[in-house]
Symmetry: C2
Subunit: 385 residues, 2 copies
C-alpha cells in the first residue's frame, strides 16, 4: 500500500424525505443563495421543498447553471453573492451545479481575477463560502469531494480545480429525487461512476486489499443495479444503491494508497470537445479499448477484475482478460449506450484530429505509468471504431 492521507468532512444525510433537514443544517442567521440548473428543480417540487425548509432565512435564487457550468455564468452568481451579502450557498442539482457552486464559493472570497483559481490547481484558494447540496442526480461524486470542473465559454477551455476549502459542509441524498430523470442521464451516471472506480482500481497491485475489495464491491453493485436504474423509473432500492455507490466512487476512499490511471477520462475529453458527446459516452467508447490496448501493464489487475468482478475463472489468461473486457462492453450496451465511435457517426478520418488535440493539450504521457503516449491513444481510437 502506498502512503496516503484521507480526509473527508462532508456530512451525508441520506434517505427519503430528508430535504426538510435543511432546517437544521443551514445556519439560523444565514443569508442564502440557492443555485440550480434548469427548470426541473422547480417542476419536480424540490425548490419548493427547499424554500419551505429554509423558513424565514433570507434567501435568493440563481438558476441557469449549465450542464457543463461556465465561468461566465458562475461569475454572474459571484456578483449576486456580493450584491446580496450572501454568506451561505446551497446547490440544488447534480455534479454540474455542485461543481459550479464550489467555484462560486471560492471565487466569492478570492481577491484577484477568479480565473486564477482554475489556472493554478488548489494553491490560490485560501478560503471559501460555506455551502451545502441537495443532490438530484448521481454520477460525479461532487457531493462528497472537493473537486470541480468549470468551462470558459469564450475559449471552450475546460478547467479543473480542487481545494479542501470547497468540501460541501453537507449533502442531502434523497434517492426519490432521481425518479424523474430521463434514462439517458441515468445511464450516463452509472457509466460515469463505474469508470471512476476502474480508473482507481485497474492499474497494478500494491497490496491494498481493502481498497481493492471496496472497488470491486462498487463495480459489482453498479453491474447488479445498473439496468434497473436505467429501465425502472421509480425503484427505490436501485436508486438508493446507485446514489450511495456513486458518492463512494470519488470521495477519496478507494483512491487512497493506490496508483491511479485517468487516461480514459483525459482521452475521452477530446471527444466531448470536438464532437459534443456526453462525458459518460466518451468513457463507454474509450474504456474497453483502453483496457485492451494496455493489457500488458494492467495484466495482474485485469485478471483480478475478471475473477472477482465477473467470476471468470477458466481459460487462458488472455481469454479471461478478453472476456472481462467484453462483459464490460456488454454492460455499457445493456444501458443503451453505444461503445463504438461509429455509434455516434464518428469514423476513422476523425482520429488524426483527436490525436492532434491530445497533443495540443499536452496529453502525451498519461496513465499510472505515464506510458500512454499519443501513439497509444491513436491505437485506442482505432480499436474503438
Amino acid at each position: 500500500m502506498l502512503n496516503f492521507e484521507f480526509h473527508n468532512p462532508t456530512r451525508i444525510v441520506f434517505g427519503q424525505d430528508t430535504t426538510s433537514s435543511l432546517h437544521e443544517l443551514v445556519p439560523r442567521n444565514a443569508r442564502v443563495l440557492i443555485l440550480y440548473g434548469g427548470q426541473s428543480a422547480e417542476r419536480n417540487g424540490t425548490l419548493a421543498e427547499v424554500r419551505k425548509a429554509l423558513g424565514d432565512r433570507t434567501h435568493y435564487e440563481f438558476g441557469g447553471i449549465e450542464p457543463n457550468p461556465t465561468f461566465e455564468t458562475l461569475t454572474k452568481a459571484v456578483g449576486q453573492v456580493h450584491a446580496r451579502d450572501i454568506d451561505f450557498l446551497l446547490a440544488i442539482g447534480g455534479g454540474s451545479v455542485i461543481d459550479g457552486t464550489k467555484f462560486v464559493a471560492a471565487a466569492a472570497k478570492y481577491a484577484g481575477d477568479p480565473w486564477h483559481i482554475l489556472e493554478t490547481v488548489g494553491s490560490v484558494v485560501q478560503e471559501a463560502l460555506p455551502f451545502g447540496a441537495v443532490l438530484t442526480l448521481s454520477a460525479t461524486g461532487s457531493e462528497m469531494n472537493f473537486n470541480a470542473v468549470v468551462t470558459r465559454k469564450a475559449t471552450q477551455t475546460k478547467a479543473f480545480f480542487a481545494s479542501p476549502h470547497v468540501f460541501p459542509q453537507f449533502s442531502i441524498l434523497d434517492p426519490t429525487k432521481t425518479y424523474t430523470l430521463p434514462p439517458r442521464q441515468l445511464a450516463n451516471g452509472v457509466i460515469d461512476a463505474f469508470t471512476h472506480v476502474v480508473e482507481q482500481y485497474l492499474t497494478y497491485p500494491v497490496e491494498a486489499r481493502v481498497q481493492d475489495r471496496f472497488a470491486e464491491g462498487l463495480l459489482q453493485t453498479l453491474i447488479e443495479i445498473g439496468p434497473k436504474v436505467v429501465h425502472d423509473p421509480a425503484d427505490y432500492d436501485s436508486r438508493a444503491n446507485m446514489m450511495w455507490a456513486a458518492a463512494m466512487t470519488l470521495n477519496g476512499l478507494i483512491g487512497a494508497g493506490v496508483p491511479q490511471d485517468w487516461a480514459t477520462h483525459l482521452v475521452g475529453h477530446e471527444l466531448t470537445a470536438l464532437y459534443g458527446l456526453d462525458h459518460a459516452r466518451t468513457l463507454a467508447i474509450v474504456l474497453p479499448s483502453m483496457l485492451r490496448v494496455r493489457r500488458e501493464g494492467k495484466r495482474a489487475k485485469l485478471l483480478q477484475y475478471a475473477e472477482r468482478v465477473w467470476h471468470i475463472t477458466t481459460g487462458s489468461e488472455d481469454a479471461r482478460i478478453d472476456l472481462a473486457i467484453e462483459k464490460t462492453r456488454d454492460f455499457f450496451e445493456s444501458l443503451d449506450v453505444g461503445t463504438h465511435l461509429s455509434d455516434y457517426g464518428i469514423a476513422a478520418d476523425a482520429i488524426e484530429g483527436l490525436v492532434q488535440q491530445l497533443q495540443a493539450h499536452g496529453m502525451t504521457q498519461l496513465g499510472e505509468h505515464s506510458d500512454v503516449t499519443l501513439e497509444t491513444s491513436r491505437e485506442v481510437f482505432e480499436a474503438s471504431l
Copy 2:
C-alpha cells in the same frame, strides 16, 4: 436501505515514517499533553519520535493509562490539563489510550461532575479539547470514531460515551508501529475487527448493497491477512492492511443505513467482568454460538455470508450455514485463540452466574430484533462450552 447520517471528519495520515507529520498537524502554539499507556511507547522509540516532531512546542506527558482505561486515572490527567493550561491532547497508543483521551478531552471542558459524561450518553458533552492520535495497535477503530469506553475502578462499572465533539482531529497510522506487539494482542485485534464487521453485517437484508460488499470485503481481507498478522512479526503489507481494515470497521461507514446487532459484544462483556477474559476472546467464544443459536432470524444473511465470504455454494441451506460458522470458528482458532469456554477453564456451572449478570445489567432484549432474551443468551453459553 435505511435512512442514515454519515459524518467522519478525522484526517488519516497513513504509512511508514508518518509520525514526523505531527509537526504540521499540531497547532504551532499548542500546549500539548501527550497521553500514553505502558513503557512500550518509550521502549520502541515512538515517544522520542513524537517529542522530536513537536519541536519547541510546550509539552507534558501523562503515562500509565490502563488497558481498560479507568475514570480514576483519567481524572488525574484532567487535573494535569487544568494545572498546565493544556489546549491540545495527543494520544500515543491503541484503543484504550485513545478512548481515555476522548474522555479527558470532554471532561476538561465539562463544568459538572465528569462521571455524568459516562452516565448520560453524548448529550452532556457540548465541547471538548482538540486532540490527535498516533496509533500503535489496531483493533477498536477508536482512531476514526467518536466512541469511548471507560471503567470506574471503584465499582468495576464499564461505561460508554459517544459525542461528535471527540472525533480525533487526526490519526497517524504507521503500520510499522505494530511490529513489536505480542501475538496475543495482534490476534485480539484481528478478532475484534472481524466481530465489529459481523455485528453490523450479519443481521437481515435491507438492500444495502454497498455496505454489504464493503463488509464482506473487510471480512475477506481479515481472513486473508489474519494468520500472517499474528505469526509474521514484521510483514509490512499484512500489518498495513490490518491497520486500514480495522479503522474501516467502526468509523460509521459499514454501519450506515443497516440494522445492527451487538449482542455478541454485550453477552461477551459479562465474561470479561466475571472472569477477566480479554474482550476479543469473549467475542471468539460467543460469536460462533450466537450465530448458530440465532440462525433463523439471520438465515438470509448467513447464507450470503457463506457464499460471498467463504465461497460455500453447495449443500442444503443449513449445511451451508453450519459450514460457514465452522469456518469462522476455525479462523479464530488459526490465530491461536480458543473459542470454547472450556479453553479458559470455565464450565457449565458458570452459566447461571453469567445469565444473572446479564439480567442485573438489563441485557434482556438484545440484537437487531430485540429478541435475544436471557434464555437465548443461556443457550448461547451452553453452546459455547
